[in-house]
């Protein structure tokens, strides 16, 4: 190992002269360049995240540490009422939120990307129209839809009644059975332009010869899609999945605007983001800091871990393609 490194070092250095990397400035000069960013990033991003981990292992009375707790906060979070129920319920809602959004936005986004691929006049306008909602703040989207879906004065139910669908004019956000699906639909409505744009770009990058070869070999349109197009979209699907996952498990503004901080009605739309906010700042009591930090660490490990696993999975799939 050591020997190999010694041997390769001069060669590496020689190879780098072209990029001007050989030059080593003085430390004082380096510090001026690096310190401002390093300080800002370490103090406001890294230190709080590390502290959250540290906080989660201590017992707290208000803002005073009263002793080492080990995994006590984690145990409380998963076994003491009401957290034992709320944590899993919020987690399940996030999972549904992610699954539902993925299913809807990716199918619809892929369908639109395919239909728009060879579409003539109006293509630009349609692409812009589909992506417009995602320029709007999720909080604004949430408040807007809470007005549109209002059971008494909302235009959505007025429209349904106008179409003779009176039995469909329901209190969409007031019913525990429909509230979460509606929030998911609104989220997918906002984001559908994002997979559409990525899939469009990926489709444009597939050489036309591939499709011709498939046709010459007598493949049907479906077979060509299934065997040629879809596998070549794997990198785009990977990017969309990971970003949607991170976005959905961090969801806050949209749900807060549509369902308040408790995920009403009756917690049927409660997600981890809301729960974390409530435990930390609204109803955590004297143990708020320890318990909310434990929850933050659990969420962190899950989100970061799954993102890493998913990223490496999609990388491997990509490599198989080449």
């Amino acid at each position: 190992m050591v020997q190999a490194r010694k041997l390769s070092a001069p060669r590496r250095r020689a190879g780098r002269t072209g990029a001007g990397r050989r030059y080593v400035p003085r430390w004082r000069v380096l510090a001026v360049f690096l310190l401002p960013a390093l300080l800002l990033y370490s103090v406001f991003i890294v230190y709080p995240l590390v502290s959250a981990l540290d906080y989660s292992f201590f017992e707290w009375r208000g803002i005073r540490q009263t002793g080492f707790a080990g995994l006590g906060n984690y145990r409380d979070l998963l076994s003491i009422y009401p957290y034992d129920q709320q944590v899993w319920r919020a987690f399940a809602h996030n999972a549904l939120f992610f699954g539902g959004t993925m299913l809807i936005q990716n199918t619809v986004g892929l369908l639109f990307a395919l239909l728009l691929f060879r579409y003539g006049r109006g293509k630009r306008f349609l692409q812009a129209a589909f992506t417009t909602p995602y320029l709007v703040d999720p909080l604004v989207i949430g408040y807007l839809w809470s007005l549109l879906l209002n059971p008494t004065f909302g235009p959505v139910n007025a429209l349904l009644e106008g179409l003779g669908l009176d039995s469909w004019a329901l209190p969409w956000l007031g019913d525990t059975r429909t509230a979460l699906p509606v929030v998911i639909l609104v989220n997918a409505w906002q984001w559908v332009g994002f997979p559409m744009l990525l899939f469009s770009a990926a489709l444009a990058g597939i050489p036309a010869e591939y499709h011709e070869a498939a046709r010459v070999d007598g493949a049907t349109a479906w077979q060509a899609f299934r065997r040629v197009t879809l596998p070549l979209l794997t990198p785009a699907i990977g990017v969309v999945s990971v970003l949607t996952f991170i976005g959905n498990f961090n969801a806050f503004g949209l749900v807060y605007a549509m369902a308040g901080s408790t995920g009403s009605p009756a917690g049927s739309t409660d997600v981890l983001g809301l729960l974390f906010y409530r435990v930390a700042f609204l109803e955590g009591g004297v143990e708020a800091i320890g318990r909310s930090s434990a929850l933050a660490v659990l969420m962190f490990v899950f989100i970061f871990g799954v993102s890493l696993l998913a990223t490496s999975y999609f990388r491997r799939r990509e490599r198989k393609l080449v």
Binding site: G20, S51, A52, L115, L147, G193, Y277, F281, I289, V297
Partner: protein, 276 residues
């Protein structure tokens, strides 16, 4: 593609695409139209056009609900954070990309990790950190926090740009006796200007939309940013729908204006990066 040749299939494609365009845009159009008519009209005829458009609700929201203050606060915090974040990142990315000093790789990876960290989970320690620095209910505190959260992305993009510049540039300047700061300011910075512009735009949107931090860190109405103010406003004006819609439009308009103005700049910045 085969469907394109059959007339009924083609009609279905048109119908589907243009039909969905209506679904995508109609809610935003309703938002705009309802902000232009009085609440009584919205309640009696939820689906009709404004019969006599009026800007009265905007006036009300702008002054009574102090959206003018929210807008000013949002602009201050967002512009300050984007400028500060980009400036420190532009400085840091230069040696990371072009100098071969001890610890370069480790430091690069340290900054890069921020791209994947769910930053907002540090909220509780951030609250007490801000409290200890006297930065609760302070626009400066938010600005610093937002600037820091933009650093990983900026460093990542800008180092890629610095790396793409030919090595002879700074070598020649160094031989001519120019110092590192001169090389940075007069050679490097002008060359990565397109990247600076797009990096700033990409930071702008999430910072402009951020809601959780202001919800926790701001206390008084005169410090609220637009999203925080909007939440306050929706709690207070629950029955004045015309004003609520006007508030939503006012919260959305600045970003739309920015995007219309900056679309060319965004594309220029992205393609400049790709062609090198």
């Amino acid at each position: 593609m085969t469907a394109g040749r059959r007339a009924p299939g083609r009609a279905a494609v048109h119908l589907l695409l243009w039909g969905y365009a209506v679904v995508a845009l109609l809610p935003l159009v309703i938002m705009l139209f309802n902000s232009l008519r009085p609440t009584s009209e919205i309640f009696t005829a939820p689906l009709s056009l404004p019969t006599s458009p009026t800007l009265r609700s905007y006036g009300q929201v702008w002054t009574e609900a102090s959206f003018s203050t929210y807008l000013l606060n949002s602009l201050t915090v967002t512009c300050g954070a984007v400028l500060l974040g980009t400036a420190v990142s532009a400085l840091a990315a230069y040696p990371l990309a072009r100098h071969d000093f001890f610890g370069n790789r480790v430091l690069g990876a340290y900054f890069l990790a921020g791209l994947m960290l769910p930053i907002r989970l540090g909220l509780v320690p951030i609250f007490y950190l801000m409290d200890s620095m006297g930065l609760i209910d302070s626009l400066l505190g938010l600005t610093l926090l937002y600037a820091a959260s933009g650093v990983p992305f900026c460093v990542f993009v800008l180092s890629a740009f610095y790396r793409s510049l030919p090595g002879e540039l700074d070598e020649a300047a160094r031989l001519d006796g120019a110092g590192e700061f001169r090389i940075f300011g007069q050679i490097m910075l002008p060359l990565v200007r397109p990247a600076l512009a797009s990096v700033m735009l990409f930071q702008f949107v999430p910072v402009w939309h951020e809601f959780l931090y202001p919800l926790v860190l701001l206390r008084s109405d005169e410090k609220f940013t637009i999203p925080r103010g909007l939440a306050q406003f929706f709690g207070e004006y629950t029955t004045d729908w015309s004003a609520l819609f006007a508030g939503l439009v006012l919260a959305t308009a600045p970003l739309f204006v920015l995007f219309v103005l900056a679309t060319k700049q965004i594309i220029a910045g992205l393609t400049a990066g790709m062609s090198k």
